[in-house]
């Protein structure tokens, strides 16, 4: 009996320690771990390599989404219009933007074949709560593609809130689109446009280079 109690106590303590350790995991280590995990899984999974939409999105949902702060991303992309939106609109907007990003990221991920990723040393002070993690994707042809992340420390650990591909930050790039949609049809117009876009993406096959249109 005593042994079992000790064992349970030990197990609890070690789980607690793991939890503590992951909360203290440095942001670049976290991003590196997720990134390598995702790429390795994508390469090894036959279904994903064959272009199975569902499997790619499952991978994205399970391994990446928990580490992304979509609300912050949406807030930044909406800019000053965020304050003008009702809580319900904010929630809808976040959901639709999240779906769009999941589709887009899944599309990118399904094209992973034999690339490798190198991470650059992080330039940040230990006390920073917002850092930039820099990496590059080595392509079989041509220059490596810069892939950087902006990560912020929140109550539930480090979360990604912006991504930079080839020098362009995602939030900054969507800002212009968001602003003009809102100018055209208000925040509801933007939500509607995103919803329709997501419907279209949901119904088309993923990872095909056949000429569309």
């Amino acid at each position: 009996m005593k042994f079992i109690k000790q064992f349970i106590a030990l197990a609890t303590v070690s789980v607690a320690f793991t939890g503590l350790a992951s909360a203290q995991e440095a942001p670049d280590a976290l991003v590196k771990r997720i990134s390598q995990d995702v790429i390795e899984t994508a390469k090894a999974d036959k279904g994903i390599q064959a272009g199975d939409t569902r499997k790619v999105m499952e991978l994205v949902e399970s391994k990446i989404l928990p580490h992304v702060d979509f609300q912050r991303m949406t807030m930044l992309a909406a800019g000053r219009f965020w304050r003008e939106a009702t809580p319900q609109q904010q929630q809808q907007l976040t959901e639709q933007f999240r779906s769009l990003l999941v589709f887009t990221y899944s599309g990118a991920l399904s094209q992973v074949k034999d690339q490798t990723v190198d991470f650059k040393p992080m330039r940040a002070d230990p006390g920073d709560t917002e850092v930039e993690v820099r990496s590059q994707v080595n392509m079989p042809r041509g220059e490596p593609i810069p892939l950087n992340y902006r990560v912020a420390k929140g109550p539930s650990g480090w979360k990604i809130y912006d991504i930079n591909v080839l020098g362009a930050w995602l939030v900054e790039t969507y800002k212009g689109t968001f602003a003009s949609e809102i100018n055209k049809g208000g925040i509801d117009g933007l939500i509607k446009a995103l919803t329709e876009k997501n419907k279209k993406l949901a119904s088309k096959p993923l990872a095909t280079n056949a000429p569309k249109k």
Partner: protein, 264 residues
């Protein structure tokens, strides 16, 4: 005319002026927007009906090693101009590395068909004269879409003749071989961008805007990688979060100050 009538006319005139001032006026982030959109649509049509199908066929049918060879061959020719630009920008080490790349690949790499230099650890750079001008301090200027060539900026358009002059393949004789080579290069380049363009289609609500905003940021990051160099004017939104501007210069203040800035 009675006073009431005069007042009404004045009010009407004022109202119309205010309305026009509000909805007219170019986008400060994209002063040539109407021209740019038209040219973008033209390029897009040419791409959809001519270039993309050919590039897709090329990518699907041509053996991979041939595609790699083509890419390497023209990439190698490009390395010479990249080397010159790196040296002009004061990047001695990178410039000499590019010279070594060119020398190595042209000889041991059999006229550039094999990219031995990358395997030897010499990274591939890409520098054009527009980036050199940027490093020298020339601001990018507004976004411009060039016929067939696609996204560019005012500065890079000015730099284009230099880039053309620095292109080794331009001096290839006889002319018909040169032209065939140019077509092959264009098709190969487009084939390499097929994945990116399908992603662009998926990710964007308005492809023109998405491409413009992404391109301007990318261009800036090519000129000033690591964000050093030009002082970055970080704007604070009303939400209190910070974000970097799209181009390296302040939103066109040279517009008549009566026009309120659009969007941001």
């Amino acid at each position: 005319m009675s006073r009431t009538m005069k007042f009404r006319h004045a009010a009407l005139a004022l109202g119309v002026t205010v309305m026009l001032a509000g909805c007219a006026g170019p986008n400060p982030r994209d002063p040539y927007e109407s021209y740019n959109r038209a040219m973008f649509n033209f390029n897009d049509t040419v791409d959809t009906y001519a270039l993309k199908p050919v590039a897709t066929g090329y990518k699907n049918i041509t053996p991979q090693f041939v595609q790699t060879g083509v890419g390497n061959f023209f990439g190698n020719l490009g390395d010479a101009w990249t080397a010159i630009n790196n040296l002009l920008q004061g990047n001695g080490e990178a410039g000499m590395s590019d010279v070594s790349r060119f020398a190595l690949n042209s000889t041991l790499g059999v006229l550039g068909l094999f990219d031995i230099a990358s395997e030897a650890g010499l990274p591939k750079h890409k520098e054009d004269f527009g980036q050199t001008l940027g490093v020298w301090g020339v601001a990018s200027g507004p976004y411009v879409v060039l016929p067939l060539l696609g996204p560019s900026t005012v500065r890079d358009t000015v730099a284009l003749p230099a880039d053309i002059a620095g292109d080794i393949w331009r001096y290839k004789d006889p002319v018909n071989v040169r032209n065939i080579g140019t077509v092959v290069r264009v098709v190969d380049t487009r084939a390499g961008l097929l994945d990116a363009s399908s992603l662009l289609e998926d990710a964007s609500l308005d492809r023109y805007e998405f491409l413009r905003d992404g391109y301007m940021q990318r261009r800036e990051s090519q000129v000033h990688p690591d964000g050093d160099g030009a002082p970055r004017k970080v704007q604070k939104d009303d939400t209190g979060e910070t974000s970097a501007p799209v181009s390296s210069e302040p939103p066109a203040k040279e517009l008549n100050s009566g026009t309120p800035p659009a969007a941001n």
